[in-house]
């Protein structure tokens, strides 16, 4: 019961901070920056589910983030294209014709479905292939990382059709709303922040459900679960697919907020960077991953502007120290304090 109350208070605090305080206190520029961090936080919630609760060290969430982002970016490019219907960069670098696989994303409905469905399907395919064959642990981590590498390389190679290294950028409107208008930019922040709260609510329900207990059981003793008559692969696949869908949604929100998506945001390095906030916040907690992701992204923006070289050392040291010595993240510290308080 106390747990329930804690979660509800957490949601209240989160809603207050994101929906009331941040818009009131932050400049438009800062708010938009926070919107970007919120997107990272949504990815982090998914990683918490797959890695923290499910034990699947996924080093390739950038792929799902990227899929959601590129789907949205394609739609925005097509919507911006004007009467010719051909996005600007294609006229510059390509044949001047829109490839057939772009066409479905002219439709806003297909786009919104695609943002969730495409990452989910890719995760389902990979998950079914590896988990059913009991490929796990480090093997799974490596495969997920290789997927990220392959995806980024694939994007870089497609200059004329998907923007290559430049990626897709220069969006002017978002479902008909002009993106230069500060009011609409604020609106985008509200959308992202609400999405984060919804995603957290989904995670909460999953964690307190029987599925959540089962997922932890699979994480700790997969083979034992098999001997209870479950196929652990199915349980892992569900968690992995949900995590992928969350990353896809985050990517789709990232695009209008940040204004660009390129291979540099989806490859091996950004994929693994998603993990540090989760590790710091506490990988198996509900709010920890989201809070950790926002704090790390904020620290990175602040520090790397003024001391770029120092930031890399700092990030490396964070990975090293937090994962090695605080495996439950800073939430360990919080629960230690609680325990000492209860003891006295």
């Amino acid at each position: 019961m106390r747990r329930e109350l804690g979660a509800l208070i957490g949601f209240a605090v989160g809603a207050l901070a994101l929906l009331v305080l941040a818009p009131a206190l932050l400049s438009d520029f800062r708010l938009s920056l926070l919107g970007k961090f919120v997107c990272y936080a949504i990815v982090a919630v998914g990683i918490g589910l797959a890695w923290g609760r499910g034990g699947m060290l996924t080093l390739g969430q950038g792929v799902f983030f990227g899929l959601g982002a590129y789907v949205m970016a394609m739609h925005l490019k097509l919507a911006d294209a004007g009467p010719s219907g051909v996005p600007d960069f294609m006229k510059l670098y390509g044949s001047g014709e829109v490839p057939g696989w772009w066409e479905p994303f002219r439709s806003p409905v297909v786009t919104v479905i695609g943002v969730i469905a495409i990452p989910s399907l890719v995760a389902l395919g990979l998950g079914a292939a590896v988990f059913r064959r009991r490929v796990r642990g480090a093997y799974f981590a490596i495969l997920s990382q290789a997927l990220a590498a392959a995806f980024a390389i694939l994007l870089v190679g497609q200059h004329a059709t998907i923007g290559g290294t430049n990626g897709l950028n220069g969006f002017r409107s978002f479902f008909g709303f002009a993106l230069y208008d500060p009011v609409n930019k604020r609106m985008l922040f509200y959308i992202a922040a609400s999405t984060l709260l919804v995603v957290l609510a989904i995670a909460w329900q999953l964690y307190r459900s029987r599925f959540g207990e089962l997922l932890m059981a699979v994480r700790d003793q997969e083979e034992r679960v098999r001997f209870l008559g479950y196929d652990p692969a199915n349980i892992k696949i569900v968690a992995y697919v949900v995590a992928a869908a969350m990353a896809g949604v985050a990517g789709a929100l990232f695009v209008p907020i940040v204004g660009i998506i390129s291979p540099a945001s989806v490859g091996v390095v950004p994929s693994i960077a998603f993990l540090i906030g989760v590790a710091i916040g506490g990988r198996s907690t509900l709010f920890g991953p989201a809070v950790g992701a926002i704090v790390v992204a904020w620290a990175q923006t602040t520090l790397s502007e003024s001391f770029p070289s120092f930031w890399i050392y700092f990030q490396g040291a964070l990975f090293l120290l937090v994962v090695a010595f605080l495996p439950s993240g800073l939430s360990t510290v919080a629960s230690l304090r609680r325990r000492t308080r209860e003891a006295t």
């Binding site: 064959r133 693994i272 040291a317 495996p327």
Partner: protein, 294 residues
């Protein structure tokens, strides 16, 4: 015909590079079950060793020949330090080790940037490696032939160590059953450390070799590390021949697919093929049978 032979050689050459990069990784992963993400940075250290050697010694050929053992020692020492300070403490959490060593990799890359500068540096190939060699049927770049030879020497050397020396027997014992080896009086601690020395040293040698193929920069290792990991996964752990077959298999596959499509599509296809391959053999080509769970 010539084009096919050329592509075949390109595949073998890529395979030899992958093999050099993956050999040490397979050794340490097989022994301890930990994935060392800093392995790529040990390669990078080997490459900078070659660069420094060349700045000290004028003769490019002498510098290269000296750099090979030097790179081995540099990589090996870095590996032992990593093992003794961090990995040792984390045997029970192999997945976390992966992230911890990733942190180490970030730091090492930045150290390289701060010491040698962010732009890439070049190591001159000695004159006897800069041309191409006529093999009768086709012409091949001498540097690539040299690397192929180096890979063969490295594999043979490692195989000899593993089969003919007391250390090798201890390593194989620990790979197959760590607890049993320990009760049988094998010092797993010393064995682990030596394994890490050899495995990381091999990364150093791989780095030296890579200087012959392109310029050297702080992210040199990370460019190869993902492919090297794929080789380890596909090859299975515990037996060198799995790594050898997987490295050349992936190299030839990549070159072959590249021939008919593009390099980037080939990468994706190779990844997909590895996943498909794991459907048939989830433990890789070869695996040491151990008894789990019960």
């Amino acid at each position: 015909m010539d084009a096919v032979l050329g592509q075949l050689f390109a595949g073998l050459s890529l395979g030899s590079v992958l093999l050099l990069a993956a050999l040490g990784l397979a050794l340490t992963f097989g022994q301890m079950g930990v994935i060392n993400m800093a392995h790529g940075e040990f390669m990078m250290a080997g490459a900078y060793t070659a660069y420094v050697a060349q700045n000290v010694i004028a003769d490019a050929g002498v510098a290269l020949i000296l750099a090979i053992p030097l790179g081995f020692v540099v990589g090996g020492v870095m590996g032992v330090v990593l093992e003794a300070t961090l990995i040792r403490r984390m045997y029970l959490r192999p997945l976390d080790t992966l992230l911890v060593t990733w942190g180490v990799a970030l730091i090492l890359q930045q150290v390289a940037r701060d010491v040698f500068g962010a732009p890439n540096v070049d190591v001159r190939a000695p004159s006897w490696l800069s041309g191409s060699v006529d093999l009768g049927i086709t012409q091949v770049p001498a540097a690539r032939l040299f690397i192929l030879g180096l890979a063969v020497v490295a594999v043979t050397g490692l195989a000899l160590v593993l089969t003919k020396t007391a250390l090798g027997r201890r390593i194989r014992a620990v790979v197959q059953n760590r607890d049993l080896a320990e009760t049988a009086g094998v010092s797993t601690r010393a064995t682990d450390r030596l394994t890490f020395f050899i495995g990381s040293g091999l990364a150093g040698i791989a780095g030296v070799a890579l200087t012959l193929l392109g310029s050297t920069g702080p992210t040199l290792g990370s460019n190869y590390i993902v492919d090297a990991f794929l080789v380890v996964v596909a090859g299975g752990v515990g037996q060198i021949k799995g790594t050898v077959i997987a490295a050349f298999g992936l190299g030839l596959l990549q070159a072959g697919i590249e021939y008919s499509t593009t390099a980037s599509l080939a990468k994706v296809a190779v990844f997909a093929l590895v996943v498909v391959f794991l459907q048939a053999r989830p433990q890789g080509i070869f695996s040491v049978r151990t008894r789990s769970l019960a």
